[in-house]
Symmetry: D2
């Protein structure tokens, strides 16, 4: 899964969009560091599993935001320019891949 139709979004991300996503990714980065500390400090296994599950949930939200944004801008733009079928094929391939 490394050959896509584009290198960049068809409709560029605004600065606000970038800032919002990066902010959430920085929080996730902090959560991952937090787990390193929990392992280091011998925190109970079950406690760590629950925190890992919180990271999965936060990452999933970022993925969903990107998917939504892709559909509302890039996919819509592709359909408007008569390239909808190939863009939908691509999105479905990726959804299959990431939901494996």
């Amino acid at each position: 899964m490394d050959e896509f139709l584009h290198d960049e979004p068809r409709v560029p991300r605004t600065d606000e969009e970038k800032t919002a996503i990066i902010h959430r990714l920085k929080r996730i980065e902090g959560q991952v560091r937090g787990i390193q500390g929990m392992v280091e400090n011998d925190r109970y296994c079950m406690d760590i599993l629950v925190q890992i599950s919180a990271i999965h949930a936060a990452l999933k939200k970022v993925g969903m935001t990107l998917t939504e944004r892709h559909m509302k801008h890039c996919l819509k733009d592709a359909i408007d320019h008569g390239e909808g079928d190939i863009a939908i094929d691509e999105l479905v391939e990726v959804l299959k891949y990431v939901s494996k």
Copy 2:
């Protein structure tokens, strides 16, 4: 999900175990930073989704390692000391929670 039977693993993690898990978490931290860069540099949405899915996979492996280790050491120790039922209840609760 924040009241568990213990604060620490019943059988403490060895230094080797800690090092191995933290090493993997550091790699995951790097992957999360990598995605920040992809957002910043306007990389294509589909490309980012695939990378997010790689982080989910890596995190899942860490979770599975911790679960396995918990079962082989903490759960086994609990059963050996006649506290198996309550330890299994706890593990099942956590498995339900994290697989939601």
Copy 3:
């Protein structure tokens, strides 16, 4: 999640599409009955878990086929008629719901 934009697909399913999906659902129905037999006949727990996982995989494929078809026909049709945004909102809501 029970109030949607439509009662029927915007672009009706062809008979071939219906037959293909129903065929797969009948196989899944058979797999579920198979597991009933395994429970009845005292088959090993681990064996049953693996079969349940096969049903999840088959169901997921049916869901993905419906999603793909929805995007290629209903969503595309909605976008063509200037109702793309609301149709994408709806799809994203459903994707969030089913990926919970």
Copy 4:
């Protein structure tokens, strides 16, 4: 994943356990048939996706019940008989497989 330590549960299922699980599997079977009807009667794609997600949830609960029961009886019995390590290995393999 088709070679396990046992053909039957180490601790046989009671009739009550069998009845309870089969009852739930029959409901799931009914849900799968319900979806066939929805496809047949041209129900909206999004509606069907939500119903499929309900089946996943119900199946997951059955899987969790079997896992819990396996741990409380079979795994515990294995540990009591000095065969805990191999039984835990097996369970972890299956958990990895089904959570893929």
